[in-house]
Symmetry: C2
Subunit: 222 residues, 2 copies
């Protein structure tokens, strides 16, 4: 049976793999992402391998099989629709829905999920701008530019805030750094490791490199 632990591992493998899609995911990365000791990850990966969800090369690393990726996308779909549902229907704050969805994603049936999807009008992205895979397991991969690498003097719009830490999200919200908001790059200071932008409401915000990496933008579509 697919336990919620298995779902979590597979989801995490998928997310980690996105960071570096070319090479095999090392055990250590997975173990620390799952917050377990390395031995636990090894044991679990063996059962995932036996279930045909990952390809496992001992001491080499792992990679999701097609089946594993489909499962990961299925879990991710549940997670992201739930996040949006919690924000749009139940009025929770976008900074707190990640944790809630983390539990619920293993408990909602497909039937309930599709009702939510319908109620939300088949959304494409969750409250943080993360794309929602389709029920058939397809995900739109859009090339977004981190604010830290964004070219000056171009109009852009925030597409995604790539961090689920409530504290960071609250900071982002307070400063108007929310998906859909337009902005333009005022300046970048390499030595100060900082980026300054002007938002559509004319407020200017300066971010350090770490924070600027997490704000992903796309060229504005007027």
């Amino acid at each position: 049976m697919i336990t919620s632990t298995v779902e979590n591992y597979v989801k995490q493998i998928y997310l980690q793999q996105q960071e570096d899609p070319t090479s095999l995911l090392p055990m250590g990365k997975l173990a620390s992402a799952m917050k377990v000791v390395p031995g636990t990850a090894t044991a679990m990966v063996k059962t995932l391998s036996d279930s045909g969800l990952v390809d496992y090369e001992p001491r080499g690393g792992i990679r999701l099989t097609h089946g594993g990726e489909q499962l990961a996308l299925h879990v991710l779909r549940r997670h992201r629709i739930l996040e949006l549902f919690l924000v749009d229907v139940l009025g929770l704050d976008w900074s707190e829905v990640h944790e809630e969805a983390e539990t619920l994603e293993h408990a909602v049936s497909d039937k309930v999920l599709e009702r939510m999807d319908k109620l939300l009008n088949h959304p494409q992205v969750d409250p943080h701008g993360d794309p929602i895979p389709t029920a058939k397991g397809q995900i739109r991969k859009v090339r977004l530019i981190p604010l830290s690498e964004f070219a000056p003097d171009t109009a852009a719009e925030i597409a995604r805030v790539a961090d689920q830490d409530p504290a960071f999200l609250q900071f982002a919200e307070k400063n108007g750094l929310i998906p859909g908001v337009g902005l333009s790059l005022l300046g970048r200071d390499v030595h100060a490791d900082s980026v300054t932008v002007r938002l559509e409401n004319d407020v200017t915000v300066t971010l350090g490199g770490k924070a600027a990496e997490k704000i992903l933008v796309r060229a504005a579509t007027e």
Copy 2:
């Protein structure tokens, strides 16, 4: 930690105890209600007893402590609000929400639950007419009369359908036997073990004793 298994046992003990509130609940009843072998129930009850959730008399039976009852009511509240939410907000059929809620009741946080409660306008009963305990763990106990014992020639209203089997609920729905519907007793045939009622839409329905026991009514409040 309170696992969902513990929550299920405590909930089930509460429900079973309602059937016969005066005496201790025998192990066998609990075991069959939980669909486990008797030995499993014994083992589990010991840990419930160690956690102070039940009083356990070996070979005598069990009874919830105050703490156990509070936990049971908390779980029941989650279950019933979820059922109503699934019907009223997501449009699921009342015959199928019990199963859905059975899983979700262990995954939903208090925060999310109270949002649902608010959205539903602090309901008193779930779609089947079962009372919803308050957040403080209080439950309104109303004396309802089974159709099988109902006095003739009195106007009444269906208050509750006490069965969660989807098949029975679908039957009830098809025949208009839904909480809130008014009816009057046309006749009872002791030898045929049957009861005939006329519903408010003038349809008459005849039920056997087993079914009539599950339809609970209250004197009509005009």
